[in-house]
């Protein structure tokens, strides 16, 4: 199920699986995984404000009505963009680990899930270093880039931490 939730966040889930995952998200376990993944994503994107609100929401709402939490999480950005921003590295993995454990403190019930999520994400992030490094090589040849002078580099800026991973590498 964790893998399905991950794919749901990445927008890669098949329509046929959607119902199953959404039903599962009504349960505590899946919901925690979902929240945990988003917290990790927020941290990697440097959007800690969102993270805090999620954590606060987890603390307060989990006790009362956990099932309504997931659909109401505000401003959750698409997972794919943070995966890019993470661009894999020891640094990113460290962030994953740190965030996962912060969440654990907030919600003891999510301990196992959070740990799992951290490991899983770290493993998935690793190949994405490659695109981060390939991006500059690719954009040399993107014709539409000729329409803007240094415009293509805005993509580089838009990733929240595109450089540290390259250093760590």
């Amino acid at each position: 199920m964790n893998e399905r939730i991950s794919r749901l966040m990445d927008g890669e889930i098949d329509a046929s699986e959607l119902d199953v995952v959404c039903s599962a998200l009504k349960g505590d376990d899946a919901l925690l995984t979902w929240t945990c993944y988003h917290t990790i994503g927020d941290a990697l994107r440097g959007e800690s404000a969102v993270t805090r609100s999620v954590r606060a929401a987890v603390s307060t709402q989990l006790a009362t009505e956990p099932t309504v939490l997931a659909p109401r999480v505000p401003n959750v950005s698409r997972a794919a963009s943070w995966a890019w921003a993470a661009a894999a590295s020891i640094a990113a993995v460290a962030v994953v680990g740190w965030t996962a454990y912060s969440l654990i403190d907030a919600t003891p019930a999510g301990f196992a899930k959070a740990g799992e999520a951290g490991t899983m994400r770290a493993a998935q992030i690793r190949p994405l270093t490659v695109p981060a490094d390939y991006l500059l090589a690719h954009q040399e040849y993107a014709p539409a880039n000729a329409l803007q002078s240094v415009g293509p580099y805005m993509r580089d800026f838009a990733a929240s931490s595109p450089l540290r991973p390259a250093v760590a590498e």
């Binding site: 000729a146 002078s149 240094v150 838009a158």
Partner: protein
Amino acid sequence: MQRAFRRSPIVTGRLAPAVFLLALVATGAHAMDAATWLMRASQAARQLDYVGTIVYQIGPRVESSRITHLYDGGREFAKLVNLDGPAREVVRSEGEVRCYYPDAKLVRVEPATFRNVFPSLSAEQQQSLTRYYEFRVLGEDRVGGRPVQVVVFEPKDGLRYGHRFWSDGSTGLLLKARVLNERGDGVEQFAFSDLTINARIDPSMVAPSWPVVPPDWQVLETASADVVARDTGWVVTRVPPGFAKIMEGFRKLRGRRDRIAHLVFSDGLVSVSVFIEPIVAASTPAGFLQKGGLNVYSVRQDDHLITVMGETPGATVRQIAHSVSHR
């Protein structure tokens, strides 16, 4: 009915040349329009002096940057400074682009980057532009306080994204651009919120804020000699129609022991890169990634990792990735 049916071949036969000629003329005119439009915009981007603020949107993110551009005696200088988040800048001077990341204490030096391909669009590329995109002039609008002409490249198949461009009425400079996905939703956009064209740009305005790299910073350099154009031995069979190979070679990337095969395909408007590298680490999973109008798909093939990256829908890069093989 029967008579009409019998007669139709004659009619078709008579009209065919005229219809064919008309179609040819129409295609030719459009090809000229699309190519002329692209060349004008790319020339304006290179040869004008301008300073302005660019608002860039990718997915849910919105970021602003300040751009200063100077064309001096055939040489191009530009400086891009981001206004949100950690201060970073990109400085383009003769033959190189330097990216400064003070937050990471790092400078990245790239050789003469993206080729200005539009001034030299081949006849084939012009043909594929009009064959696989519907180029239309949508009319007039206003961007950054300036009157603009709006044009659109609408894909004729599901293998490409749509592109809408707003160009300055008097100079042709691109003032706004939007990438539209399969559902017609904008996935990536940039727009000038203010702009001064033909501004007086002093060379100091396009100089880096760090003329000397601080001693504790790291400098990452890519030498142009690191790219060698040659036959890589890799073939890609399922490239969408209209995409032609524009580059093939090996490149050396930082932190990689092995050279990486790099093939680039373009339909005249966008390009798709295919990277092939030997897998070193045992746990190199494949994956899919979307970043605005850019999609990336990685797949393992025996002891190689194939990564396809391009300004096309995810299904397109995926299809291409699964059609790579070694001769």
